[in-house]
């Protein structure tokens, strides 16, 4: 089975983020970057499917779009066990909407003719949660979203889909197909020293975005980024930990009356 995992590099979770001078994005200077969390679960599921298949021709390809720094995240995915990588080199991602980005990914995926495409459910930065589903439509493939685990069946796949409020359902679908993966379905692996060593000699093909799909004008544009307004007047309790704790208990007893 040939599996492509589309992954995204996002600012590290605890990285301090500031709005840039344009007021339309964040200041990326000095930011630390990491693999988007649900994409890490998508990669894990792909590696598990390859291992379970027992088929030596099975292949896991990681795919990502972005500037040069994205190569680091792709190399980390190779160290975890992906066989090769495709890097769509694009410095103008902020000017593309989800459809424009998905068109780039689709153009890189189509010639590979994969059996299965996996993406994370949503990114931790933009959180639009739709690149995978758009990709399925562009490629004319069936899809299922919010998937926790994947089993190969005689006719295709049986996947466990998460519903709201702790409900689940099983979905059967034929291959080729696209799945968006929810976090938590499997335990994530770490790269081994051997894996890191091997990754250095694995193929990472760079495809300039301009060669893949013409940049079409976006249909949705981000006009401005602002800090959220506070919804409540929060009382901040200060002092040493013991003082703040005592003040909090006093407030909860006498003011909020919840203790």
């Amino acid at each position: 089975m040939k599996i492509i995992v589309a992954i995204k590099q996002v600012p590290e979770r605890d990285a301090p983020i500031r709005i840039d001078a344009s007021g339309k994005w964040i200041d990326e200077f000095g930011l630390q970057w990491a693999l988007n969390e649900s994409d890490a679960y998508a990669l894990e599921e792909a590696l598990l499917l390859k291992e379970k298949s027992g088929d030596p021709t099975s292949e896991v390809i990681v795919l990502s779009a972005g500037p040069e720094r994205v190569g680091v995240t792709l190399r980390e995915a190779l160290a975890k066990g992906a066989d090769r990588a495709i890097h769509i080199l694009a410095d103008d991602l902020a000017s593309r909407d989800s459809l424009g980005l998905a068109r780039l990914l689709a153009a890189a995926i189509a010639p590979e003719k994969p059996d299965l495409i996996l993406t994370g459910l949503q990114s931790e930065d933009l959180g639009l949660g739709q690149t995978g589903v758009i990709l399925a439509e562009l490629l004319g493939l069936p899809h299922a979203s919010l998937i926790l685990t994947v089993e190969k069946t005689a006719t295709g796949l049986a996947v466990k889909r998460e519903l709201e409020e702790s409900w689940f359902q099983t979905i059967d679908l034929p291959l080729p197909a696209l799945l968006t993966i929810q976090s938590g379905g499997n335990k994530l692996r770490y790269a081994t020293l051997m894996g890191i060593k091997r990754a250095k000699s694995k193929e990472c093909r760079v495809l300039p975005a301009a060669d893949l799909a013409p940049a079409s004008p976006p249909v949705v544009t981000l006009a401005s980024v602002t800090l959220p307004q506070k919804q409540k007047s929060t009382q901040f309790l200060t002092g040493s930990p013991a003082e703040a704790a005592a003040a909090l208990i006093e407030k909860l007893r006498t003011e909020a009356r919840v203790l």
């Binding site: 930065d125 959180g127 929060t234």
Partner: protein
């Protein structure tokens, strides 16, 4: 302005998030909007919707819409929207909508503006970035219709307006069984549900700030001192540090305690929707910019590994 709102139902009733989407749509249009229902038999749902909140109700009916499928819903709505050509299509931002709406928008060369929390003049649509740490304003410049999904709880579901009772119409799309490529099984729950967080009055919720499984006893001690239930945000349960049944948020349980203590929880929207019903929220977090502080009544900016033991000690001391 021609605005359609797609309503979702569960157990034979229109869902609350659908009424919230309807309120957002009505607010944006400044007038009653058109409601769309999908299913094999939507007669009762149409009757429930025909309360004066909508100017028109369209029942999109087909036997193949009896159970949800992305292929079926996309095909049916694509045909309807090609015929009707509204300017805006508003949907609740639910798991179901997230599954089909991006596909539907793509078919129109459009992009769904997802998880909208506010609508500004223009119209411009506000949604959150970086797990709630920033807001962004989006505008649609593409072909019509513009697709928007509304975050749960962002708009108040208003009582129906007293406009004339809506005209109810039926639209029958052309769908063939072979168009639907996925087969969905019946919904099920995890076998052991032994914790009922929904009725707990005091809850201590723990998030990523706890750093390691070996630190869980620190928050467990606080929960024990308070006589509270221990709950967690998704990453803690994903990692297996606490069982899934203790997860609070859109994918876990919804809680409504008197007191919710959020310990090391940053406050991503997926968690916040689960605690909205809390009477009093306390947040303890070392990051002063964590979104949890935006909804907290009381807050301590500090190291939970110092503050939580101090709190536990103070509660235990007061008991003796």
């Amino acid at each position: 302005m021609s605005v359609f709102v797609i309503l979702e139902d569960r157990n034979g009733k229109i869902t609350r998030s659908s009424w919230e989407a309807a309120a957002a749509a009505t607010l944006a249009a400044g007038a009653p909007v058109t409601a769309v229902l999908l299913g094999a038999n939507t007669e009762a749902l149409a009757a429930e919707s025909a309360t004066g909140a909508f100017s028109r109700i369209i029942r999109v009916e087909h036997p193949l819409l009896a159970a949800y499928s992305s292929d079926g819903f996309v095909a049916a709505l694509y045909q309807l929207l090609q015929t009707e050509t509204p300017e805006y299509v508003v949907l609740p931002h639910t798991y179901l909508v997230r599954d089909f709406a991006p596909r539907l928008a793509t078919r129109f060369g459009q992009v769904l503006i997802s998880d909208v929390i506010a609508i500004e003049p223009g119209p411009a649509f506000v949604r959150q970035l970086f797990q709630g740490r920033m807001n962004a304003t989006y505008q649609s410049t593409g072909p019509l219709p513009c697709f928007i999904s509304i975050q749960a709880g962002a708009f108040r579901a208003t009582s129906p307006m007293t406009s004339p009772i809506a005209a109810i119409e039926t639209f029958v799309p052309e769908i063939a069984a072979r168009d639907i490529r996925t087969t969905a099984g019946a919904p099920f729950r995890a076998s052991s549900q032994t914790v009922d967080l929904g009725s707990a009055q005091l809850i201590v919720g723990v998030g990523r700030g706890i750093k390691d499984e070996s630190n869980i006893p620190i928050v467990q001690a606080l929960a024990t001192a308070l006589g509270a239930e221990l709950a967690a945000s998704r990453p803690i349960c994903d990692a297996g540090w606490l069982p899934m049944e203790r997860q609070v948020g859109s994918s876990g349980q919804t809680v409504a305690p008197k007191l919710y203590l959020a310990i090391g929880i940053s406050g991503a929207i997926q968690h916040l929707v689960g605690i909205k019903g809390s009477q009093c929220v306390v947040a303890i977090n070392k990051d002063p910019h964590a979104p949890i502080f935006e909804i907290a009544d009381y807050a301590i900016v500090g190291d939970l590994f110092e503050v939580v033991p101090a709190l536990t000690a103070a509660i235990n001391a007061a008991r003796q």
